[in-house]
């Protein structure tokens, strides 16, 4: 029992620390990659190649004045960033970074927990993330925040549906809701090949869930200034950003698990494969951000309800038909 608790605590610190570190450096990577795509160097003043930039950013945000607007609903205003951050951190628990390995003579799994309803857990927890945004938008008593909050909640609810349906195909093929069993089912063929349609739907919906370009309407700078976190400053603002980037890691991890074969791959150790694939997905999202413009609100809804949702249902049907015909 004690040994178990110690192992869990160590894993918790290691995984949490690793994710936080990756997250801060993903912010730097995003700025660097965007920079190179946009013929500019990106941050390069703090430390060699700007490597200390995330730390500088963190210190800066920490020292900023924390402003709570006079008319804001104070309790909710303070809770909202936490409500955005907590689900983001909670989902990491079931992302399977690697299989069981032997460390110091003990068999340790490279993930916090393998719940037999892993996927459902992720969905349940990430569906809570919208609260942070809605409440932030509502409590700020700012019209831009309110519009941003409304936009994002409508967007997240709409896209959660097609996201869920897209996954059904994978679940049907793996016959399990557990993340580890999902990866084990992809030992031969990665699900991206038989489930290509599902993959396309999932990644589109996931980017929409993350409020990233081309679906960044809730925080669309040219329209709503910063959307729901217009009124936030200092660490509260930082918490939204933390949540956003942790979510990027989680979503990339889920995509890797569901469609890219998780930790499977030749030569390199499983953990390395998982991280490589995860980073490729992150890179893809940054690439999309550099390339695509923003959709309009009604077009976003049309895409979600009239294209992605029917397509995901078709995907389920096709999967079912193929599974029945080819066994």
């Amino acid at each position: 029992m004690t040994e178990f608790v110690i192992i869990m605590l160590v894993k918790m610190f290691v995984i949490f620390g690793a994710v936080m570190l990756t997250m801060t450096y993903i912010t730097l990577a995003e700025r660097k990659i965007l920079g190179y795509m946009q013929i500019r160097p990106g941050p390069n003043r703090v430390g060699p190649w700007g490597l200390l930039q995330p730390i500088a950013d963190g210190i800066k945000l920490f020292l900023k004045e924390d402003i709570i607007p006079d008319n804001a609903s104070k309790a909710v205003f303070v809770i909202a960033p936490a409500m955005a951050l907590i689900p983001a951190v909670m989902t990491i628990a079931v992302v399977p970074f690697g299989p069981e390995v032997s460390i110091l003579g003990r068999n340790v799994t490279l993930f916090m927990a393998d719940i037999n309803i892993g996927i459902l857990y992720i969905f349940a927890v990430s569906s809570i993330g919208v609260y942070g945004i809605v409440l932030a938008g509502w409590s700020s008593e700012s019209k831009y925040s309110l519009l941003g909050g409304l936009r994002s909640s409508a967007q997240m609810i709409s896209y959660e549906l097609s996201m869920g349906f897209a996954i059904v195909g994978v679940i049907m093929m793996s016959q399990s809701l557990s993340m580890v069993k999902l990866i084990e089912a992809q030992k031969g063929v990665w699900f991206i090949i038989p489930q290509f349609l599902g993959f396309a739907i999932y990644i589109t919906a996931a980017i929409a869930e993350l409020n990233r370009t081309p679906f960044d309407l809730p925080e669309g700078e040219s329209e709503l200034v910063s959307g729901y976190f217009t009124e936030y400053s200092s660490m509260k603002y930082a918490m939204f950003m933390l949540a956003e980037y942790i979510n990027i890691i989680t979503v990339s991890g889920i995509v890797t698990t569901l469609y890219l074969g998780g930790w499977h791959g030749p030569v390199l150790p499983p953990l390395a494969w998982f991280v490589i694939k995860l980073l490729i997905v992150v890179f893809f999202m940054i690439w999309v951000r550099a390339t695509l413009p923003r959709l309009r609100y009604d077009q976003l809804m049309t895409l979600g309800w009239k294209i992605l949702l029917p397509a995901s249902i078709v995907n389920i049907l096709l999967t079912a038909v193929f599974m029945t015909v080819f066994g």
């Binding site: 965007l34 019209k143 519009l147 081309p214 700078e221 040219s222 329209e223 309009r296």
Partner: protein, 391 residues
């Protein structure tokens, strides 16, 4: 209970996509703009009144600060108006150089427009590509005048100084790279993008008749299919001798405005090429010692030039009693200056017709009933410069 109230949203004057200090009072029903009232005047500096208290020469730098995205065009419009008032002939070298530089300025201005329009609808990278090419043009301006934004290069009677050494090579280099950059970096990433298409096509349509009634000009009017351009209809600076087309649109939507401006950049490049090929030598400033500043060297060595210099700088010149209006085609449309002279060294009244101000009036007509996202695209395609609107 069933009664719903519309939300009033103050967009601006500090807002990322109102292009300066434009303030829009929006009445919103959900995301739909029900009523739009533009509020202007946040950048009012009383330039027209200032003009009444400055000599004709002293006013030129102020024109830079009107349409600061295309300051050379403003210089040109003002200088030509004063030249018209004086009946001054300007040397051919200055004439061709003016065409060349204002066309480069048009490209630079359209590049800023394209970049910010991209930003408005969320395409971030395009902005940086546009800035890269604009930088090349600004380098040319810098070589000419020493300034990049408020260039102040044209003078009454010609140019402030002669074109610099290496000017031709700089311009030729630009001509060599630009069409390719336009095709590869702008059109392929932007024009062929499905999202750009659905964001711009059929958005902000204004009919030919409405456009004429509102007095629109420039790309905005041409996108509705009215082939009207001051360079063709009332040629100045010898535009009648150049070969170029006036691109027009069909539907008058945001996408047509984009296409018209892109084609205008190509035509401008053509004009730059032609002007460069025929750039004559000779004087760059009219030889009228009472009006044009003598060269510095002469001021230092000749008594007479020193006196002229002193007279022009301290008192200026006294044009005949008259009223003149002259307009040119700036990147944003027809810019006209109206000067009433009472025979003194300062204008009795100076006024201008800024194209952005007139174009801005069409905003409500185009955006009412549309979504906020459309409004942003429409403002972007309108390309207002608030310095010019508020004066």
């Amino acid at each position: 209970m069933a009664e719903t109230k519309n939300m009033i949203l103050n967009m601006g004057p500090q807002h990322p996509s109102t292009h300066g200090v434009l303030r829009l009072i929006l009445e919103l029903d959900g995301e739909t703009v029900v009523k739009l009232t533009p509020e202007i005047g946040y950048l009012h500096r009383g330039v027209e009144k200032l003009g009444e208290n400055l000599t004709y020469h002293q006013f030129i730098p102020l024109t830079d600060r009107e349409d600061y995205i295309a300051s050379l065009s403003n210089n040109l419009a003002y200088c030509m108006t004063v030249e018209k008032l004086l009946g001054l002939e300007i040397p051919p070298r200055a004439m061709v150089a003016r065409v060349l530089l204002t066309e480069l300025q048009r490209i630079a201005s359209h590049l800023i427009w394209l970049g910010t329009f991209g930003l408005d609808i969320g395409a971030m990278s395009l902005f940086f590509y546009c800035m890269r090419e604009r930088e090349t043009i600004l380098d040319i301006f810098e070589a000419c005048a020493g300034a990049r934004l408020t260039i102040n290069y044209f003078d009454i009677g010609g140019l402030r100084k002669d074109l610099p050494v290496g000017f031709e090579k700089q311009v030729r280099d630009f001509i060599a790279i630009f069409p390719e950059r336009m095709k590869n970096d702008y059109e392929r990433i932007f024009q062929d993008n499905k999202i750009v298409r659905i964001r711009t096509e059929g958005v902000g349509i204004i009919s030919k008749e409405d456009a004429i009634d509102l007095g629109l000009s420039g790309p905005l009017l041409r996108s509705c299919g009215v082939p009207w351009d001051v360079r063709k209809s009332n040629p100045y600076c010898g535009y009648e001798n150049y070969e170029f087309d006036i691109p027009t649109g069909k539907t008058g939507d945001v996408f047509d405005r984009y296409l018209v401006r892109m084609e205008e950049m190509r035509q401008s490049l053509k004009l730059v090429q032609q002007a460069l090929d025929r750039l004559p030598g000779g004087a760059f400033l009219a030889d009228d010692p009472k009006i044009c500043l003598p060269p510095k060297q002469k001021v230092m060595t000749e008594m007479e030039s020193l006196i002229h210099h002193f007279k022009i700088v301290s008192e200026g010149f006294e044009p005949p009693v008259a009223e003149v209006y002259h307009s040119i085609e700036t990147p944003r449309g027809e810019l006209g200056f109206y000067i009433v002279s009472d025979g003194s060294n300062k204008p009795y009244r100076l006024r201008f017709r800024p194209p952005s101000f007139v174009n801005l009036e069409s905003l409500a007509k185009m955006a009412e009933g549309k979504l906020i996202g459309d409004l942003i695209a429409i403002i972007g395609a309108l390309d207002p410069v608030m310095g010019e609107v508020d004066r």
